[in-house]
Amino acid sequence: MSDWLSIVPLLLVATSGLFIMLADAFSKEKAELALVTAVSLGTAGLVAVGLLASGSALPPLPEVLGSYLAVDELSLFFDFVICLGGALSALVAGGYLREHELERGELYVLIVLATFGAMVLARSTDLLTLFLGLETMSLSVYAMIAFRRTSARAVEGAMKYFLLGSFAAAILLFGGALLYAATGHTDFAGIGAKIGSGEVEPVLVLVGMLMVLAGLAFKVGAVPFHMWTPDAYEGAMTPVTGFMSVAVKAAAFAVFVRILVVALPGEEVASMTSGWPPVLIFLSVLSMVYGNVAAVAQKSVKRMLAYSSIAHAGYILLGLAAASVVGEPAISGVLFYLLAYTVSNILAFGSLVMIGSRGKEAVDYDDLAGVGRRHPYVALPFIIGVLSLMGFPPTAGFFGKYYVFNAAVQAGGGFVWLAVIGLLASAVGAYYYLRVVVVMLMKSPAEGQVVAVPMKSGYVASALAMSGAAVMVFGLLPSWALDLAISAAQKLIG
């Protein structure tokens, strides 16, 4: 039985998904489902981190699954990140649904199933499991966005995401088919070995690679594949937006890392003259610049966070591109960035949920005016969250940005300029993040303005406390998490 040890987190999530489904069908009290969901996802995450920290050798999977799912530190690291994001989102959702009288249990089932899909995606070592995980995750997320089915915005966002997402999945599938046609393999290692041997048609490989990258770039919301992001993020309920921006993004980046390192190494596909690094640089620069500039112009705080998530995808892509030169430091930087981004983003979205009670939801900057003076305990987590997203020391976000930009500088050459562009773009980002702080602390509400009233919810408060503590701990003591990230990256590169 010990063969299954390394996918215990995955199995835990799968069984708890089925259990929560039954519990939803048979129970009247839906708020407790949030707790059950958070506890089961949290347990899975802790098991993953326990396996990771114990450092013991992981037994290989039975042959049925062996070539489809990875057994390595990278997947355990992402199990942890994704489960953490899912568990905290479920807690926030528990408070949100009750406050807004939307209490139905389906959301928790969907959160668990989407988390499961994301974990499979992050673990996939074969184009088949990649697609399976991607679709399990995406279908659940489409339904989660449309959860507020009477809201035209929610349905619009879900529809847009669904249609564009299906196209992206089709493009990814076609790219995978071309890679298969060129190499005769569907497993990443086989594709990588065949490309390395040089006995392949380069055009097929390059076109297939571009299509796969386009499909994945859509999922992470990188410019120019970002069109769905603002509408889907704004239409979805805030806890769901939080989930999408952390778990979905982390899983997509996990498979991104794995494909680039395992399936597409070597001169022909991973150099500046031919291959993915220039593509990623192009996506990265566009995302960093466009995401930050567009976020400045937003009136709605939620939409601002949506655009800022595009910018963050750009920073992470910069790290991935630098991995083509420096390898391990860039990949571990990306891993740490994703962990820091997960806790900071949940903190920001959770605070946004906390500030809005029923009928008095905080949507625009003006709604936040005076919150800092009247409800300092709600303003504090929000401020920590946006400071961390901004990359202000000593928060987790600072070290995330530091490691990624540092890897770019280490890569040398043109990457130094990219790091400079990234720093300038984050300076633009400081404007809209600090605007939240300024409005909350210094502005008084306008005459006749509906003032946001914080909701009272233990679930949301505990989610904020946990993610806030994580932001500060990863910021003050980054070495523990960074060591895990470094060992995961080293094992992947081998």
Partner: protein
């Protein structure tokens, strides 16, 4: 090599031009005397009734999606049954897990009332 296809290409071109030319010629040369009767939507000789966009009950969707889900279940069982002996206990356990998952979804559907037509 490609020149072998030239006649095919020419035929495609001629066919397209002939079709387009006929349509253009009729619409240019033909007489046009629209009367209210000619402009009516027409269905098998009788007048149309009601709007063309009917609202369907969402219940049909639920029934259809349940059919698809459980139909695919059956589709998976056939190849498994054909290879039952070769797959051995591993295959048996895998199928039991698969059916258990589907049974849970069936219970869920039932309990949520998706199988009741009148509610």
């Amino acid at each position: 090599m490609l020149s072998a296809y030239l006649p095919v290409f020419l035929m495609l071109l001629v066919a397209t031009l002939v079709a387009l030319g006929m349509f253009t010629a009729t619409s240019l040369a033909g007489p046009k005397k629209p009367t209210p009767e000619k402009l009516l939507p027409y269905e098998s000789g009788s007048n149309t009734t009601g709007a063309s966009h009917l609202r369907q009950s969402v219940k049909f969707y639920l029934t259809a999606i349940s059919f698809v889900v459980f139909d695919i279940e059956a589709a998976f069982i056939y190849p498994w049954a054909a290879l039952f002996r070769d797959l051995g206990w591993v295959g048996f356990v895998a199928m039991v897990i698969f059916l258990a998952v589907l049974a849970i979804t069936l219970v869920y559907e039932w309990k949520k009332g998706a199988l009741e037509w009148e509610r």
